[in-house]
């Protein structure tokens, strides 16, 4: 099983910590974890995970979309990290190109509004949200409510 962490702009502090937290749970379930993002978002993850304990490989976000469009790369589940409109647009694109299940992790100051927009835009997408900017604990609580990520694969 392979999972994709589709990182957004890293300007909101909770993103990197929550992404690594989810990656840890995915690794425990036997997933191969791939992280896609801007060079800055990827470098934050690389610095935090130098021994690749959580992330198996990285790919630049546009290359990721292109490879999916070419049919050269796919995953079983894609986690979109969303704290602004562009995050919704990227997850919708990956959801359209991939056979895997989309999951939206929504945070930041506009999390409630953005989570509603995700629900309108994407069918069969699990949406987990919290108005978290600096403190990840509320969002962690939402994530912990999902006992196993493998359970979202065939939604």
């Amino acid at each position: 099983m392979r999972a994709l962490l589709l990182l957004g702009c890293p300007e909101v502090p909770v993103q990197t910590g929550i992404a690594l937290y989810i990656a840890n749970k995915l690794k425990d379930e036997g997933f191969e974890v791939v992280a896609a993002g801007t060079p800055s978002a990827i470098n934050l993850m690389r610095v935090a995970d130098p021994k690749k304990a959580y992330i198996d490989s990285y790919i630049e976000i546009e290359r990721c979309v292109d490879q999916m469009g070419e049919g050269k790369f796919d995953v079983d589940v894609s986690f979109g990290f969303i704290h602004k409109d562009s995050g919704i647009q990227y997850l919708a694109t990956v959801a359209a190109l991939s056979n895997g299940a989309p999951v939206a992790i929504v945070f930041g100051r506009e999390a409630k509004e953005l989570s509603n927009e995700v629900k309108e835009a994407l069918d069969n997408c699990l949406v987990l949200w919290a108005t978290a900017v600096h403190n990840p604990m509320e969002l962690k609580k939402r994530i912990d409510e999902v006992a196993r990520w493998a359970s979202v694969l065939k939604r």
């Binding site: 979309v65 469009g69 409109d85 562009s86 694109t93 994407l122």
Partner: protein, 105 residues
Amino acid sequence: MGKCIEKMKYEIVLKNARFKESSDFILKNSEVVYYVEPGFKVFDRRLIGVPPIPIGVGNDYIMLTYVKPCYGAFVLKLPRDDEEVEKIKVGDKKYNEKHRKTRYK
């Protein structure tokens, strides 16, 4: 491989917008609007966005949305390329056969 957009003479006609705003801009400012699926390739770029994704076409331009993760949606006005327009028409036909809805111009 398609032509590289970054090397083309393009104009940024809207920047740092939400995707809905960029779509509305294309609808209001294009002679003809075609709709394609997310990931549809125009020149060397795959289009990002919640479907339907509009592409504006005129006598001398192709207008499309380019989404950047940190900076939002940009509308680019590119020089028209007839070969590319034909591909867009095929993409539009496929989109409409699949969805048969949401043509709002």
